[in-house]
Amino acid sequence: MKTMLALSLSLALVAGPALAQKKEVVIAATGGTMERALVEHFYKPFEAETGMPVNKVTTELPAQWARVQANARTGRQQFDIVTATFPDLIQHRDQLVRIDCDKLPNMKRAAPGACMEYGVMRSIGAMVMVWNTDMVKGKTPESWKDFYDVQNFPGPRGLPDTGDREYWVPVTALLADGVEKDKLFPLDLDRAYRKLDTIKPHVAVWWKSGDHVQQILRSGEVAMTMSYSGRALIMSRERQNIHMTFNQSIRDVGIWAVIKGGPNTDGAMAFLDFFMGGPERHVKFANQLNTATANLDALDLLPEAERRRRANHPDNWSRQVMPDFEWIGANREKLRERWVSWLTR
């Protein structure tokens, strides 16, 4: 894995436009549709406007951080910008450059809080509740309380066994048990797992990826499930009987972060500023990936019905849970051990 990464990295470096006049910006992000959308709507326009080439590196997040940590030991960083989650910003803070939001003019058009001390929000989604109206007998579940209520909403459930499930799932249990969304943290794990014990026999699928959650919704394997909002959006457009709510959904944001000691930190800041501008680009990007972005003007360009489907619509935004990532970061091993131990029993 490491050698593969090193190989592809060196290939990418060799193949990059070595003769370009301006210094390139090295950006690490996940591949597939995300990469294609980034290239089309941000990397290419950025190159055209600034003359600074973007050297894109395709990577999975754990491999990317492993590389950053390894490079920190040798003192030579390869990436300027990386992809991060909220917990990453805390766990890897020592490797990140502080971002001076006042010096980036386009951040004035960003949603409040989108430009953070150590990161800029790239794609905004949430872990939402999705259900199949045929299977829950036409009723409309409103919150996680209904998800845990198998009497009134019968049918098999789906929950994730991937990503940050070690706090996503306990959070739903506490919300269902009546804890206010602002008083969740620090998580009362004993209470959460007591509640989780009640739903476990009804969980038919512990899904492993975004494709997987779509597939179990499509095949009718579950009546209700937690899902990435992007995948839920696709499914709700594809099937009449599949619905979703942002109520009590858990904020899940993809973030740009700048690596300390990277080859072109000024270029990285220029890219971040460029990224936040251009509402048309944000609309296309968000539509293509079924996500939302922090550019405020972009939301205005969408029809009202579509706006309501986005995590950053003010109504949806205010109903989301913002996890306490400082606490999660400090307790990650404990959270995971409890989760695996409970799940495999």
Partner: protein, 291 residues
């Protein structure tokens, strides 16, 4: 004979000069060192000595019940898979060893063709068959055996079934070659001496095929212990095996030392088992020559 100088490869004989055998082993040994021993050593080194010598990761493996539980489950599933592969594979290998021509060719193809198909594809095929609205459930409900679809996927039975299917060739091939190596005269002689079909099998064929059975079982069992894709896709969390835990520690927690400790414990167990089995094989041979 003395007139002919033994060449490096000593044509006509069975022995190679020591230098020649060493030279022939070098490429493989190098590969083994670079892609297996080195990474494994690094991982174990991290688990024991980085940043300072410590046993804390190994202590965690034994202190938290979840890790031993998953380890135990891994052993249990691997055992069942070996048993199923043996029960399905032995009769097949037996028939193959007593057939020839087209019949043998067809059976060999049936065993070998799946080996050439990606494990992932075979695993997905099982998912399609076993899912809630899959072929098996539709058949069962259609024929009226069950009222509502039953849960087949994400169960231990499904994992054992799919893994046995994937690993079956590793049982059939060694058993087949052991059976093929038994001269036809032996069972014939047994029968001439009045042995029934069953006692011919029990007294002659089964003992002589044991080395093949043992190596087949060992191969299937060890491969099953480290299986990753199939249990991850076919099984639910209650079927999580040790390889999945190791990969989570590496990919999600970035905790290489603890992953190394999990690998170390598994490796110690596998080594102990292999040594024990080796003894067993030798014992069998000894018994075989005496009678």
């Amino acid at each position: 004979m003395s007139a002919r100088r033994p060449s490096a490869f000593f044509l006509g004989g069975r022995h190679l000069s020591e230098a020649a055998s060493l030279a022939l082993l070098v490429p493989f040994a190098l590969l083994l060192v670079v892609v297996f021993l080195l990474p494994l050593g690094t991982l174990l080194h991290e688990s024991l000595l980085v940043p300072a010598p410590t046993l804390e990761h190994y202590e965690r493996v034994f202190a938290q019940p979840v890790y031993l539980r998953v380890m135990w489950r891994t052993l249990r599933i691997a055992f069942y898979v070996t048993l199923v592969a043996l029960l399905l594979g032995y009769p097949l290998a037996y028939v193959m060893s007593r057939s020839g021509g087209l019949k043998l060719g067809l059976m060999a193809a049936a065993v070998l063709l799946p080996l050439w198909t990606s494990v992932l594809v075979r695993t997905y095929a099982w998912m399609v068959l076993l899912q809630r609205n899959g072929l098996v459930n539709e058949g069962l409900t259609g024929l009226g055996f069950v009222d509502a679809p039953i849960r087949l996927l994400y169960t231990e039975g499904a994992v054992v079934l799919a893994m046995s299917h994937v690993l079956l060739p590793f049982m059939v091939l060694p058993v087949f070659s052991a059976l093929k190596g038994i001269p036809d005269d032996y069972p014939r002689a047994a029968q001439m001496l009045g042995a029934s079909g069953w006692s011919t099998f029990r007294e002659v064929i089964w003992p002589l095929s044991l080395p093949g059975v043992v190596s087949g079982c060992l191969m299937v069992f060890l491969l099953a212990l480290g299986f990753f894709i199939t249990p991850a896709l076919i099984g639910g969390p209650q079927q999580m095996m040790i390889a999945t835990l190791v990969s989570q520690q590496v990919r999600e927690m970035l905790n290489w030392p603890f992953a190394g400790a999990l690998v170390g414990v598994l490796l110690a167990f596998v080594l102990a088992l292999t040594i024990a089995f080796n003894r067993f094989i030798r014992l069998e041979r000894f018994v075989g020559t005496r009678s």
